[in-house]
Symmetry: D2
Subunit: 335 residues, 4 copies
Amino acid sequence: MAVVKEIVPFDQDKIYEKHRDLVHLDKWVEHYRSYAMEGRCAAYIPALAMANPSQLGIAMAGPDGVVLKSGECEASFTLQSISKVIGFIAACLDFGTPYVLDRVDVEPTGDAFNSIIRLEVHKPGRPFNPMINAGALTVASLLGGRAPLTKIESFLTLIEKMVGKRPSINEEVFQSEWRTAHRNRALAYYLKETGFLECTVEEALEVYLKQCSIEVNTQDVAMIGLILAYDGFHPIRKEQIFPKEVAKLTKALMVTCGMYNASGKFAAFIGLPAKSGVSGGIMAAVPAHAGSKKSPFPDGCGIGIYSPAIDEYGNSVAGSMLLKHIAREWDLNIF
Amino acid sequence: MAVVKEIVPFDQDKIYEKHRDLVHLDKWVEHYRSYAMEGRCAAYIPALAMANPSQLGIAMAGPDGVVLKSGECEASFTLQSISKVIGFIAACLDFGTPYVLDRVDVEPTGDAFNSIIRLEVHKPGRPFNPMINAGALTVASLLGGRAPLTKIESFLTLIEKMVGKRPSINEEVFQSEWRTAHRNRALAYYLKETGFLECTVEEALEVYLKQCSIEVNTQDVAMIGLILAYDGFHPIRKEQIFPKEVAKLTKALMVTCGMYNASGKFAAFIGLPAKSGVSGGIMAAVPAHAGSKKSPFPDGCGIGIYSPAIDEYGNSVAGSMLLKHIAREWDLNIF
Amino acid sequence: MAVVKEIVPFDQDKIYEKHRDLVHLDKWVEHYRSYAMEGRCAAYIPALAMANPSQLGIAMAGPDGVVLKSGECEASFTLQSISKVIGFIAACLDFGTPYVLDRVDVEPTGDAFNSIIRLEVHKPGRPFNPMINAGALTVASLLGGRAPLTKIESFLTLIEKMVGKRPSINEEVFQSEWRTAHRNRALAYYLKETGFLECTVEEALEVYLKQCSIEVNTQDVAMIGLILAYDGFHPIRKEQIFPKEVAKLTKALMVTCGMYNASGKFAAFIGLPAKSGVSGGIMAAVPAHAGSKKSPFPDGCGIGIYSPAIDEYGNSVAGSMLLKHIAREWDLNIF
Amino acid sequence: MAVVKEIVPFDQDKIYEKHRDLVHLDKWVEHYRSYAMEGRCAAYIPALAMANPSQLGIAMAGPDGVVLKSGECEASFTLQSISKVIGFIAACLDFGTPYVLDRVDVEPTGDAFNSIIRLEVHKPGRPFNPMINAGALTVASLLGGRAPLTKIESFLTLIEKMVGKRPSINEEVFQSEWRTAHRNRALAYYLKETGFLECTVEEALEVYLKQCSIEVNTQDVAMIGLILAYDGFHPIRKEQIFPKEVAKLTKALMVTCGMYNASGKFAAFIGLPAKSGVSGGIMAAVPAHAGSKKSPFPDGCGIGIYSPAIDEYGNSVAGSMLLKHIAREWDLNIF
């Protein structure tokens, strides 16, 4: 199953060099796959509940175009909360960081991703950060263009620039989420009342749930992680996709708030900017300076992981364990 | 006022090399000093209220022993919450990280440093992290040895190893805090009830308030920051003071929870592990990989800042602005 | 302006008897009218903001059909939260008290009427009581018949039985509330998610906002208060409108939760079951045993008050003061 | 076991009259005793944990001096939270109601009796009401005289005036509470910081825990309830012990906040001013106007109940059920 695939012109030597690393990766994937049983597929979105919980796949993309893959790395899954990272970047591109930060703060909360309490306690304050649902809805409402279709378009365009192909929206997942989005509607109406929604509730919700329903695989996610690692620069296409300042800020947000209310534990025990989604995806960015010679990617890399069984916080169980193991074994850590 | 001082044997060249940087630093210090007026000295501890709010000093300590200083860098101040970092490290040294983490979590909260709410809402959970008062009191109660004197001794010994001299406790500040520590006593009794205090309330409080009252200057703080930057290794004395794992974990905690409930903004806009105290001190660590050639310390450094006028969160106003300016100008950022 | 009006066949003597009391009432109304300036008309519902804040009117209805009136007693106003009492009674009539109480608790909260926090903290618990918006929305969703029109019909029918005429819905107020009901929609979607809404959000909201928009005057409200005072029995028409148990329970709810988060102060300083609305209406019930010989209604009465300028809690300023004065002077108190 | 005992000169006829009622009472006590198994004796105060959970006793004291008793009515128990009622009255007697209400509000909370959250959320507000621990500690700190001994003396004197004998303090219970009062100390230190404690923490705590440790039996409690029912007037000794206004206010507080966070359910389903303690005691007041001809006390009465097994809220399980049954059967209800 494990493969090394190049995006740039083929170079046989690189594959041999990576062979040893692949052997490790395959072994680790097989080992941690068994821990998936300790989690459960997200039940509140019916379409997600049907995923095969024993899947575990990973892709690691280096700046030279080499991609290391193992396990169910080709499986399709929806971005879910990983899309919050992209939405935040898109909004900063559209309106500039100060405009966005006037409407959403950047403080971690310790609360669950769908918590509404702080909106009332700190009323009429901004949502605490763009990585919780309240903040992500505010960000979705900002996106350029008035109509949901235009907003989601700017979303798809940004992803296309990063992963090299236009992603599609999983209509089944979107419909499933749309019908059961009571809590998100509650959050959106609350934000509407306090003035932190710049379009209608239904429009914000359509954008947010469509961005959550964008279909990717681990390599797509790894590519986005790689560009974040390189401060917005696409190291293969040699193109600055978004400004360095936005990238630094986004990675800081991923560290402080990216892994739901287990973000502190991720920072402490893994030490990489990462963002998870309830579909079981994890995106991580290993900046060049945090790469190590022990690893197959001494100049940093992006990491995409998928394993749909999630824990009480909403993070992939086997995915988190695999990422922790890799970070420790290969000495990847920004701190 | 600005001086370059060496700790290791004198080397005239280094001073000349740094001259240009010093000119910058002096200019910045003078510029940001005026912003101190926007803050106020901590009023709830009478002895702190008497500080001169217009003071601003900085020391930056490099791995080669060079220390760059500017402003009121020699002023004495008490560690206050910066001591929480040292207490956490001391407890990990005494009992091992797993033992400590069984008693205190590592999640940011978004709440004020002296908040008690979460102890009840998440009862009977651990305090959320060791950088808020509740968690720091639990950590103080763990420290080796039964008697407060023994506990505080292990504290002083650790600092001595790092800064090269035994610090003293400011008795006046300690007495002032002791008499007005009603909120901390409330926290400590709450922790006692929920089983997260391993000594008496009065003992834990004595240790905690004494550690807060340890007197330092900016160079001392910069040295501790430097050792954190070097993962527990003292680059001048060539000695591992505490394990790399503890250092990584501590820096992660500083990023997610170190600057009170403005930690998210610090991570987003400064991007360095840092810890502040209500006396107006800030300690920051610039790991070797986060140093930049633009800066006088391409191999990383430790930073100690002092300016006693603090903002609504408890962070030094001028100190935070100076640190942000330095990080931006010299491109220091872990993300 | 002050009049004594009979509902039952005219009896000249009664009017004379009451003359002394009317003189008092007129004086008190004039006195407390000036305090209305300390409040403001509810601003969040545009149609309410246009009311004349200096109005103050009262009607007191006795079991013998005598009604004592003073001030702007004929002014029309919408029920707003007073309708929560009627909704609760209607639901108990439709489904029985146990069914209703399985879906809404009867505990006071100390929180604002539109608070959402407790729904999350005590999730997945019932709304705390039917006198806060969350509970009232749950109750509205229970009402008999599937369609909003049927639900609101059972509402209008119950009021008609009590006041002797079919009330109308103020369409302008309803439309105004419907367009600005973001917070109530947030509450309703939250309830939908936790399973405490037995119809769609839009249906529940239509019923709730229409019941809030029912137009009444002080005499109508006094009649409903009188029937509550008489444990569900209409003392003039000699008909049991709803069971005694429901009436007792409802009056208990009015005492513990009826006056928003000033209910405790109302119980303490006035001592009568009462319910207010943000339109400035107050309904109070004086049970026969709580009537006193000092008062014109020794056998109890119902009280309807209207004065649209409300305080920070949502209660009519002048109305509350007038009620307190009456209760004290005429020794009306259930405790 | 059941007896009828007079306090005033003996009158054989009265006993015969009550015989039928006693037969009922005995039957009900035996019936509800079995439900005590669903509760548990308070475990957090070691001395209370040793009580016999199957005990259930009741005394009902009428204005004519007749006392109806059944079950373990002679058992001694400590007042615990019932003392909060007496402390509030004593403080109002010492300083006047306005002074006391400036320092403690009268709003129900829906929170547990020992909750600390609201002190922070509504900081720097008064404790929400004198029936929760925070408010009771504030009240204890107000009591006349500086020293704890003087404060507790004014407490004992007030009880002596009501029950006709000087009660004693159970030193074993007091010592047991004193040693384990961590949560109460946390509350007291919090109040000290916010300025709502008018003596030292240790003094307030000594007074509060001693008032909790006052030993009574059901007849004592029934007598206090009777005097509350009679608005502060001792109907047997024909003496006004405290003003009517204080009595009305206290009964309102008992209804809205007296039964911990089940107060709403008590008001709704029982409908009598009542106050419970974690020792398993309940005091209820049936005002003259709420007495009924169905009951042995048509002119009202006081009720004292004891059954030490308590529920999750802190209320006696069997005691609450017995009180509810009595109120329903004998039609006692203030609403």
